[in-house]
């Protein structure tokens, strides 16, 4: 167990190093430095600079040091917990990222709070009676909603709920403080796009359990159907969905980009896009580290969880 954990964590660190190294190489090209100069000083001012003045600007910003040196400094700082400085936002990356992650956290919490019960109930209902009408309709609903891209869902919800009925605000910038109503559209968009996939996985797992020997025996023994489902089938059928749900965390980090940008919700996804376009390298780096961390941790949790929940699998 410890060996397994150590191996995964070691792998994660190796991946983080590789990823951040690649990013540093990319952002160290002269074009990107020029782009940063244009952002800082304006296109007209940059072209009025002589080469010598441009060099001194690079020096002032600490961009003229060879990238391996910058990279090793950066690693040194990150190990100490200092994620660097955002050129665009003029702020320490650490607190900046933490602020945005909290906002995305709120979003993610409500997405999971709605998506888990919805998809589990639908999946179990469908998987209980394979091939039945309720199974087919749940399957169709799942495919249907998974097929509508987030951007389209966002549009449809905005048009009907915000512009048409005026129930909720169209944008979620929340300039005058936190507003529950403004959270509705982003959360719904993510839930609608995601629940279908989890429901289908739950259905598959449930259907498999229902055909297993012990459930059939239990039903043949004459135990009440309800009890068989609740006591025996569910426990085993929910193991696979659990791992899937944990892995959705990773998916969510991608999914929030378009939703946050569309609804103007100031979270991790919007930060990442803005930083990449700026280009604000230390923010992109920090965001990538967080993303990789979430991805690998969710994989580890889902692996461990699966092992604990499923008595048939033991670590060798």
């Amino acid at each position: 167990m410890t060996k397994f954990l150590l191996k995964r964590i070691l792998q994660m660190i190796l991946i983080m190093l590789t990823a951040s190294f690649i990013l540093f190489v990319i952002f160290d090209t002269p074009e990107f430095k020029k782009r940063l100069a244009v952002q800082e000083l304006g296109g007209f001012a940059v072209s009025a600079l002589t080469d010598a003045s441009y060099e001194s600007w690079l020096e002032k910003k600490g961009l003229n040091v060879p990238f391996y040196e910058r990279y090793s400094n950066w690693i040194g700082a990150v190990v100490k917990g200092d994620f660097g400085f955002s050129q665009e936002k003029n702020r320490e990356v650490g607190p900046l990222l933490w602020d945005k992650l909290k906002k995305t956290g709120i979003l993610a919490f409500w997405v999971f709070a709605l998506m888990i019960p919805l998809s589990l109930v639908l999946g179990v209902l469908a998987g209980m009676k394979e091939g039945s009408l309720q199974d087919r309709s749940v399957s169709f609903i799942s495919v249907f909603f998974t097929s509508i891209p987030e951007i389209a869902t966002a549009i449809l919800l905005t048009v009907f709920l915000a512009l048409g009925l005026g129930l909720v605000p169209a944008k979620s910038a929340m300039i005058s403080g936190f507003d529950w109503k403004a959270l509705v559209l982003p959360v719904l968009t993510l839930v609608i796009y995601d629940f279908g996939y989890v429901a289908r996985m739950t259905r598959a797992s449930m259907a498999e359990v229902m055909t297993s020997q012990y459930i059939r025996t239990a039903i043949l023994k004459g135990l009440p159907y309800r009890r068989v489902i609740m006591k025996h089938a569910l426990r085993n059928a929910l193991i696979a969905p659990f791992t899937i749900i944990v892995l959705q965390l990773n998916w969510l980090l991608s999914g929030v980009v378009v939703v946050e940008v569309f609804f103007e919700y100031d979270g991790f996804g919007k930060l990442l896009l803005e930083a990449a376009l700026f280009p604000d390298i230390e923010v992109v780096q920090a965001c990538t580290l967080v993303a990789v961390l979430v991805a690998v941790l969710s994989q580890i949790i889902s692996d461990i969880g699966y092992t604990f929940l499923n008595p048939r699998i033991r670590f060798s």
Binding site: S147, I155, W251, A291
Partner: protein, 335 residues
């Protein structure tokens, strides 16, 4: 005789890979002109043979998938857009880039022009932009998925068949890419290369190839213990021959379902990236661009048709891909 030894497997390899298959030929007649037309701006004429080919292919596929209603629905949705794509220049449509009368509501006449689906903020006809818009999504979506498959399959075959160090290195690299959330990867790659259709192909390859490689690697690990592979090895065939002739055709089946799903993802990705300003560039019509441009001007109930048209179009195409994948899975499970 060494020469003959070399000759024999080579001819056999080509023979086995290029058996005349009507569906493949029709697909090529449809696809090659459309690709050339969209990517390199060839003349309208190149699309002429593609129109009957597409329709014929549609009927052949309908017959082939007749067992599954779901597949038929998906097929019809996908082919609806394919037929629109190849016949767009010959349909009685207004010029999709020509500003005529801005903000015309659907089914109304403005400046002596009748707008079925209305016009956008520049006065361009939405119906015609919707139909022309599917060309770029289809072409770049399919090209990107295809390239990702070629790359993923090649590395998957190598990793699975050769194992050892090859496997270690390839698996580690693919793990690096798989640990990035897809969107992060897209943003970083496209921001570095600049937004364009060709760069989307590269970005999708980076994002999808590792996953495809994993699937192919798994399948290869399974298949390579089979007798016919063993037989080929004892015959002394070159590993390349074994990978291409013995392994490749046998991993193809399970990949088709995955390909349909992945086409859906890629279409979503292209539309989303274009919406974020990292994908296809104006002025040619594209659904993602239509959303991007309308999102800033149409945030009112009475203008919302500008957003609904592209949103529903892209949803229907993706629904088509997903239903097709579902149907194919159903059919393959029945066999």
């Amino acid at each position: 005789m060494p020469v003959a030894d070399l000759e024999f497997p080579r001819s056999s390899m080509f023979e086995r890979l290029a058996k005349p298959k009507p569906m493949l030929i029709l697909f090529a007649i449809m696809w090659v002109p459309l690709t050339l037309y969209v990517m390199f701006g060839l003349d309208d004429v190149v699309l002429l043979p593609a129109i009957p080919a597409t329709i014929a292919l549609y009927f052949i596929c309908l017959w082939a998938f007749r067992e599954s209603t779901v597949a038929l629905v998906g097929l019809s949705l996908v082919f609806f857009w394919l037929i629109m794509a190849v016949s767009a220049p010959y349909l009685p449509l207004l010029d999709p880039n020509k500003p005529i009368a801005p903000f015309a509501t659907p089914w109304t006449e403005k400046k002596e022009t009748f707008f079925v689906l209305g016009s956008d903020f520049k006065g361009r006809d939405l119906l015609s932009r919707m139909i022309w818009g599917c060309q770029r999504v289809l072409i770049w979506g399919v090209s990107a998925t295809a390239v990702a498959y070629v790359v993923g399959t090649v590395f998957g075959l190598i990793a699975g068949y050769l194992s050892g160090w090859w496997d270690e290195v390839i698996s580690f690299i693919s793990n690096v890419f798989l640990s990035f959330p897809v969107m992060v990867l897209f943003i970083v790659v496209l921001n570095y290369l600049g937004p364009s259709g060709f760069n989307i192909v590269i970005a999708v390859t980076f994002a999808s190839a590792p996953a495809i490689m994993r699937i192919v690697r798994g399948l290869t690990l399974d298949i390579k213990t089979r007798d016919y592979v063993f037989a080929a090895q004892t015959r002394g065939e070159h590993p390349l021959y074994i990978m291409l002739v013995e392994l490749l055709p046998n991993v193809r089946g399970p990949l088709i379902v995955d390909a349909c799903l992945r086409l859906g993802y890629t279409t979503v990705a292209i539309t989303t990236l274009t919406f974020l300003g990292l994908g296809l560039q104006p002025p040619d019509p594209d659904w993602g661009l239509m959303i991007r441009e309308s999102a800033r001007v149409a945030m009112l109930w009475k203008f919302s048709y500008m957003l609904l048209v592209p949103a529903l179009s892209v949803s229907s195409l993706i629904l088509g891909f997903n239903l097709l994948a579902d149907g194919l899975r159903e059919i393959s499970l029945r066999d």
